[in-house]
Symmetry: C2
Subunit: 432 residues, 2 copies
């Protein structure tokens, strides 16, 4: 039985989880076919080692000790960030070491360079933990659904946003208050921008879009809108209309166009939709394959042990590859700058829309709004007008039938020039 | 690039799906690392071939043509049943061919003999399609959650039963009527015994229990109760109490006892439970791992294309194993008669219970029932008594707190000797 040596860079939250799992499973992991040994652990914060069951692993402050050790077969990069992590990953790959990472920004933004380097040196780069924490999203797409063309993905992929929206919905609390509490409880970072601004979801959507399209979908081409502008009133109106608001990653293949529809934005889902019941910090990925139909994965998308579980799954896979003498089991050649898949601009999508206008309460206003929408061929599915706000303005909510986004934008531009419009209009896309 | 030759035995529903997917994906499946060629197809009903995109595959009425062909690397057994299928699988394995099957009865009842044979001849036996159709349940347990001890499984794993219960719940229809319609629509077999009696769910639960326990859990040791006795009134009472009734496979590891709790029975789930929203023919598997926490897989558990998708996933995995020269990637040595894991008798479980008594409406009856329950230390969580039936008997519904099943059974035996008891008592376990 071959024994595979692991070098772990980064003993923070996820790294700690990996050390704990490898320790707990040391007598059973890969039993019968391959042995896995945690040989070295590097972290600048050397005080972290004392709290971990590091066993016989050599602990060091210096990642170079791992990169320079020729006996290390697999480098596990759990540092995060893009600068040092990228350098370390490229360094490891070019020394013929396999790499496992949980770093979504790295894969989404620098994937082509990394996969090209891995291919050049005949090693693998695995990244299950980069999307969906403990849920086996990458493995399911690359292996379990290999017989499928995956035509669409809808995903709740950021636990912080889902936690905030769940509490706003359940308790009627405003965004800022829930965010502050989430920060206090450790459910949100001190700087929450990457989460609530949608960037984290965007990184994950870019990776999933690349995997299902068999090409590279550049992160910076994706339209991303976070949850910071979601108001309690929109959540309440959505509920009255039978919907819930979630931050969604949406991916639709566009066969024959050479493009792909990829976007991250708040979306209204019918309350009976399977994703509508995904609450708190849980994540879910709804995949639609041409053979398998709809498949849902649901679980914890972050955290020490769930994410550690995904890293250990990769470790065992790569160790089995090494033991078999076939270092690259699943080629990633398509994830390259030579196979860029252009993203369809969001202005060109077709969707249903929730529009909340804030208007002066005066006869004829609704008619004027409807006329501008009609000029763009936008058909109204339902209208709701309620009691006014304190300043005598009133909210008018319109749900549209399917319409082109660019038409909706043109209509809104005209409508917002009317002097009865008191605030900019809130637009939320409706997904089915 | 190595090309792997496939021989398919059985071109019925699932076999047809496999042929279609291999045809559709012929230019992309395993691109870059391994080629897959459908070389031969055998089916006694040779008329089936005409409707399928068989390409260059040699079609035959005789499975022997596949078993005797030394160029075939992988035999895909999609015949079903246990007699011929078992003989064909053993024959293929002992000739050094890898085997892929969707046959849950075969794996659950004869797994040890088959895996021992595969091990002896140095080949693999894959069976993803045997549990959960297109959902990657086996792969998730064996690979993605390899770093976990899976402590429990709760699963809705029979689409026919879930469809029937969903319609009974939504439309208030009786079992027999919904079953008859399901048979007419092709959602239930002409002989529905294996589905509605729980045997099919039992086969799948036995396989999952074996996988998570690292031993062989014999199918015939599992307590199995189907849905034929579920009445519309129990569904209605459950709903009033905030529950739904589902046919569940329940597996709990019992660390330190050397046994495992495995059972199939109707269960009441709180209506907010994630499994409660799994409707119609959909299946779901809720796995709880010690590291990853709760993970749910949801999808279509049966059907031509979903099950075909799972078979094709296995084909690609085994083809990659063959190409790498390591025929057995995931050892199954534990799935043997040398590693039997005894099943805890259902009388020894602890659960919460829904009990529906049918009694003569007379003062003091409820007190007597409560007294008999109290004698066994069974504490009552809630009681509901309603208007009487036409024959002047009345239903008394009691939900218990956690109690030992054998105590509940002893109490019911005493209660049913009272002359006010008009029908045998309905017992439904409550799962959280």
């Amino acid at each position: 039985m071959k024994e595979v040596a692991i070098g772990l860079i980064g003993a923070g939250t996820v790294g700690g989880g990996v050390v704990k799992i490898l320790h707990t499973r040391r007598n059973t992991l890969g039993t019968g076919d391959v042995g896995v040994r945690l040989a070295r652990i590097a972290d600048k914060a050397t005080s972290r080692f004392a709290a971990l069951p590091v066993g016989d692993a050599v602990c060091t402050a210096n990642a170079e000790d791992i990169l320079n050790d020729p006996s290390i077969h697999i480098v596990v990069e759990l540092v995060g960030g893009a600068t040092f992590a990228k350098k370390a990953v490229l360094d490891a790959l070019s020394r013929g070491k396999h790499v496992i990472t949980a770093n979504k920004a790295l894969i989404a933004e620098h994937g082509p360079e990394l996969f090209e380097c891995a291919s050049k040196y005949g090693v693998s780069l695995y990244f299950e933990a980069s999307v969906g924490g403990g849920m086996p999203v990458i493995k399911t797409i690359r292996e379990a659904l290999a017989g499928n063309e995956i035509v669409s993905v809808k995903t709740i992929i950021n636990g912080t946003c889902n936690y905030i929206l769940t509490r706003m919905t359940a308790e009627g609390l405003p965004f800022a208050l829930v965010l502050a509490e989430a920060q206090k409880n450790g459910y949100a970072e001190a700087d929450p921008t990457l989460d609530v601004g949608g960037g984290d979801s965007g990184h994950k959507a870019a990776i999933l879009a690349s995997l299902i399209s068999g090409g590279y979908v550049p992160f910076n081409a994706i339209s991303i809108e976070g949850i910071t502008a979601i108001g309690g009133e929109d959540i309440a109106f959505a509920r009255e209309l039978g919907y819930v608001i979630k931050l969604l990653g949406v991916i639709n293949r566009k066969p024959g166009t050479g493009t792909i529809d990829v976007r991250v934005h708040p979306a209204m889902l019918p309350s009976h939709h399977i994703l509508a019941s995904v609450a708190d910090v849980f994540n879910a990925v709804l995949l639609e394959g041409d053979a398998v139909g709809r498949i849902l994965l649901y679980g914890r998308g972050a955290g020490e042990m769930p994410t550690g579980s995904a890293v250990v799954s990769d470790i065992l896979d790569v160790a089995r590859n090494i033991a078999s003498g076939i270092p690259i089991r699943i080629p990633m050649d398509y994830y390259s700058t030579g196979h860029v898949v252009p993203v369809q601009p969001i202005e060109k999508i077709t969707s249903r829309y929730y529009l909340r206008f804030t208007v002066t309460d005066r006869p004829g206003v609704l008619g004027s709004i409807a006329a501008f929408l009609g000029e763009e061929g936008i058909s109204i599915a339902s209208v709701m007008q309620r009691e006014g706000y304190a300043d005598d303005s009133v909210p008018v909510i319109i749900l549209t039938h399917w319409a082109k986004e660019n038409g909706v934008r043109r209509a809104l531009a005209k409508i917002e020039k009317m002097d009865v419009i008191r605030q900019s209009t809130r637009l939320i896309r409706i997904e089915e």
